[in-house]
């Protein structure tokens, strides 16, 4: 049979992957070998593969495959995240398109829709990862809403509550008026925007034509004003001390208060205070015992406190009130202004600071070991520059708002037995809750029907922070801890720096809290995949290539090489599909080398001197490269390991070695050199295996030629199987 001139990646790759799966080469069970463990950063269950996943998972697969070859018991755990807010938003939109309003559904009905959606779209991304060649132990696939995982999350919530680390309280939170939920600080993106600074004058009460001018970017919040604040050292306003002013339009009297918080340089030096709608004003409100007037409904429209503007959206009101203030003579002037505004990471809605009763997780104690063990490199960051921002965040960490006003997720295990805000118990099961409620009330007649579970769910990260432990049954009380003891701490985590705080930091916290141990030894931060122009890839820009399309065109091996050619850890990767082309050329180069060697005919005659010297040189050169490659791997310089591997194949093996030993046209090769060449080829294939696992398998099943047999054999070796 003719060997194809061009390597047929698509056909070959699916054949090999099926074979690997059938033989169970990726499966791992604890044994007496050293474990090497990676847990996948679980992608959103209903997501599809993007270039960031491609980069991230290629690196993980490279590390896992090499560890497997090094004789370690390699275990790469795959899985998906239920992605509370993202999935719920998708389901709500889908229902809306079908004419169904979430508000008309019961919680159970809505969750049924979520599960249906999850089952329909869930797992697509995992199938896509298989196309890339990901050597995960698929029998270990986990989902953050699996029964056991769900229980683990509830257990941790209860435990932290018992320890006093979870509490309920009214705090100023980041409110997303579109998703109708609170968000953590980390879920808010701050962007600079062009806005206007409105100078509005308030009439001083009981005075004749005396006015105070304030400057604000949010004139609609005037309806919620509780005071005007001046700096006590500001001599310009000494005469106002002790007086009151009238809020325009609202026509309410509010006091003038003194606080050094006010910057006399900003605006007019007079600051309106709206405790319900600004985090700083909220603090001042508490300090000065001011009324807190919440003027907004949850969806960002004004409520009854909005007076004439009731029922209208906040941005509409901003325009309307500016016009009214102007017409009624209150507007002094407006100026163009640039300020930073928070946007919801998920919906991109402008965040509304809002007072709200939420669940919080105390961070101070949890953060201490997590900071210490990163700063002392027990957990090594690659590249280490990320330690700086980690440190900054951990030293300034605020309590974590863990409740979300959503339904898709782990429901908060707080059960209310009365009307008061403190009439609740926290328990893992409703049965347990009932006992606690009876004890709390002294009422033995209480039944489960008298209990009402908190409707909110937990922040998605409150489940994924347990990932490295939960996937090994770390919270399963009925199980022995054999798996956890064997695989945990895991070895390497490969993730994007964007989720260093969301996820990495919190896994470290959970690791020390529950195992008193680090969750992983190394964290490899990948860069951001950008387009040729340096822009982040996004759906809306349409600049993100379809990863599966790339694999079909260039082969998984080609794309893997293309992704890694220019992506040193932590640096952005400017991606161009020409890199995948280069990757494909690399696999073709190996293919052509294979065809060349296959075309030789071995005969028994004396080995020429040049061949002997060529072999001697190549064996030394290979070891020099191998040492280089090992060092790069050990230091997580994966791109450099690839470059050395690339040079070994292209320059040393193809351009030099094969040219040296190659017999003259149509002449036979001596048997000694031929056998040695096969051995060398085999070693080279083993070294390329982590990067290009498919081509490294050779060309199984085509014919029974000696070379091929030999290459099948080395394919078997490279695959990580017994042979």
């Amino acid at each position: 049979m003719e060997i194809p001139k061009i390597y047929e990646s698509t056909k070959t790759e699916s054949k090999w992957y099926d074979y690997w799966m059938k033989e169970g080469f990726f499966n791992s069970t604890p044994d007496d070998r050293e474990a090497y463990t990676i847990v996948i950063p679980p992608p959103n269950v209903t997501g599809v593969l993007h270039m960031g996943h491609m980069l991230n998972n290629t690196i993980q697969d490279v590390l896992v495959r090499r560890a497997r070859m090094m004789g370690k018991n390699a275990c790469w755990v795959p899985g998906t995240d239920h992605a509370s807010i993202a999935t719920e938003a998708k389901v709500v939109t889908k229902l809306k398109n079908e004419g169904i309003d979430k508000a008309d559904l019961s919680r159970e009905e809505f969750l049924e829709h979520c599960w249906e959606w999850t089952h329909k779209h869930g797992g697509i991304i995992l199938e896509q990862l298989k196309k890339l060649g990901a050597s995960c132990d698929w029998n270990r696939t986990h989902f953050t809403m699996d029964e056991g995982y769900y229980k683990a999350v509830i257990q941790v919530f209860c435990d932290l509550h018992k320890k006093g680390n979870i509490y309920r309280g009214v705090r100023m939170v980041n409110w997303d008026p579109q998703a109708l939920t609170a968000l953590s600080d980390e879920e808010v993106n701050h962007k600079e925007v062009n806005s206007k600074l409105y100078y509005v004058r308030y009439k001083v009460q009981d005075a004749d034509d005396e006015w105070v001018t304030i400057a604000t970017t949010r004139p609609e919040t005037i309806m919620g004003d509780s005071a005007v604040c001046i700096n006590p050292n500001d001599t310009r306003y000494k005469h106002l001390i002790g007086k009151s002013v009238i809020v325009p339009i609202a026509n309410r009297s509010i006091p003038i208060i003194l606080d050094e918080y006010v910057d006399p340089e900003f605006g007019t030096g007079c600051l309106k205070i709206t405790p319900a709608h600004d985090p700083n004003d909220y603090e001042i409100g508490i300090k000065h015992n001011l009324d807190s007037i919440d003027i907004f409904n949850d969806n960002g429209t004004l409520n009854a406190h909005g007076g004439p503007y009731e029922g209208k959206d906040r941005f509409e009101v901003r325009k309307a009130i500016a016009k009214d203030l102007d017409e009624q003579g209150y507007m002094v002037k407006t100026e163009d202004h640039i300020n930073k505004i928070g946007f919801s990471e998920r919906t991109d809605a402008v965040i509304e600071p809002k007072l709200s009763l939420q669940w919080f997780c105390k961070m101070e104690e949890l953060a201490k070991p997590a900071l210490e063990h990163v700063m002392n490199d027990d957990i090594a960051f690659h590249p280490p520059k990320f330690k700086n921002s980690y440190k900054h965040w951990m030293e300034n960490v605020k309590d974590w708002c863990v409740s979300r006003q959503l339904w898709w997720g782990h429901q908060i295990p707080a059960y209310f037995y009365g009307k008061g805000i403190n009439d609740y118990v926290v328990a893992e099961t409703i049965v347990e809750a009932l006992e606690m409620a009876k004890a709390a009330t002294g009422n033995d007649k209480l039944t489960v029907h008298d209990l009402r579970q908190d409707a909110d769910v937990m922040d998605t990260w409150f489940s994924s922070w347990l990932w490295p432990m939960a996937v090994f049954g770390g919270f399963d009380k009925d199980n022995d801890s054999k798996e956890l003891d064997y695989y945990y701490p895991t070895n390497d985590l490969v993730t994007a720096p964007e989720i260093m705080f969301f996820w990495v930091a919190r896994m470290i916290m959970a690791g020390y809290e529950y195992k008193n141990e680090l969750p992983f030894k190394n964290v490899y931060y990948t860069g951001i995949v950008r387009d040729k122009l340096g822009r982040k890839m996004s759906k809306s820009l349409g600049n993100s290539p379809d990863p599966i399309g790339l694999i079909e065109k260039y082969g998984a091996d080609g794309v893997r090489v293309g992704m890694l050619l220019s992506s040193p850890a932590g640096n952005d990767l400017p991606f161009d599909s020409s890199q995948c082309e280069q990757g494909r050329n690399f696999t073709n180069k190996i293919w052509n080398a294979f065809r060349l060697v296959k075309s030789w005919e071995a005969k028994d005659f004396d080995q020429p001197e040049y061949a002997k010297k060529g072999i001697e040189w190549f064996e030394n050169k290979l070891n020099e490269r191998l040492a280089e490659i090992n060092t790069s791997y050990d230091q997580f310089r994966i791109s450099e390991a690839l470059m050395s591997t690339y040079k070994l194949v292209w320059d040393d093996f193809c351009s030099w070695y094969l040219e040296i030993v190659k017999p003259a046209y149509l002449q036979p090769i001596d048997a000694t050199t031929y056998a040695k060449t096969l051995e060398i080829f085999e070693t080279v294939l083993r070294i390329i295996h982590p990067f290009t696992p498919f081509i490294a398998e050779g060309d199984k099943g085509r014919s029974t030629g000696t070379v091929r047999k030999r290459l099948h054999h080395c394919g078997n070796l490279a695959r990580g199987s017994e042979s």
Binding site: P608, Y610, K612, G614, N620, K621, N623, A627, R686, L717
Partner: protein, 164 residues
């Protein structure tokens, strides 16, 4: 069991020896390229060894360089292309297969042609009316042709010189 290869001890002297051979081979390749000697045309190599250098890869030089005979000599070789690596002198003697005359003829013809191109361009550029009247782009174009021809003439003359 699948294994990642163990690193074996590297004999640096072998790698050094090869690097030296690599340098010699690069020079041979350059000469083949410059003098239009196809790879399939066998050549001879004479080496005047002025210092002790590694000869262990001579067989590889011979194979890759397609060298019919590699010999050491104490004298300079006339009628040969030459190059130097370290302080050794290398000679590739002219032979029947290396048709020096034909190569010289070819270069001379190319030189004539290029000089002709240069003359045409310079004639135009020396014509004041042309320079004053023609669009700027056209004048620039002629200037470019002039520069290119001059550069090419220099290269050809150098090559011719190397045959002397």
């Amino acid at each position: 069991m699948a294994t990642w290869p163990e690193v074996q001890k590297v004999d640096q002297s072998i790698l050094d020896g090869f690097n030296f051979a690599d340098e010699v081979i690069s020079n041979i390749r350059n000469i083949r390229k410059e003098k239009n000697i196809a790879n399939k045309v066998e050549i001879e190599l004479r080496i005047k060894k002025n210092q002790e250098t590694d000869t262990s890869f001579d067989s590889v030089i011979q194979k890759i360089g397609n060298i019919s005979s590699l010999e050491y000599t104490s004298e300079k070789v006339d009628n040969a292309f030459s190059f130097i690596v370290k302080s050794n002198e290398y000679f590739i003697p002219f032979s029947e297969d290396i048709d020096v005359e034909a190569e010289i003829e070819k270069l001379k013809a190319e030189l004539e042609y290029t000089k002709g191109s240069l003359a045409i361009a310079e004639k135009k550029l020396n014509n004041e009316k042309f320079v004053a009247g023609a669009p700027e782009q056209v004048v620039a174009n002629e200037k470019r042709k002039q520069a290119e021809a001059l550069a090419k003439i220099k290269v050809i003359e150098e090559k011719l010189g190397s045959f002397a």
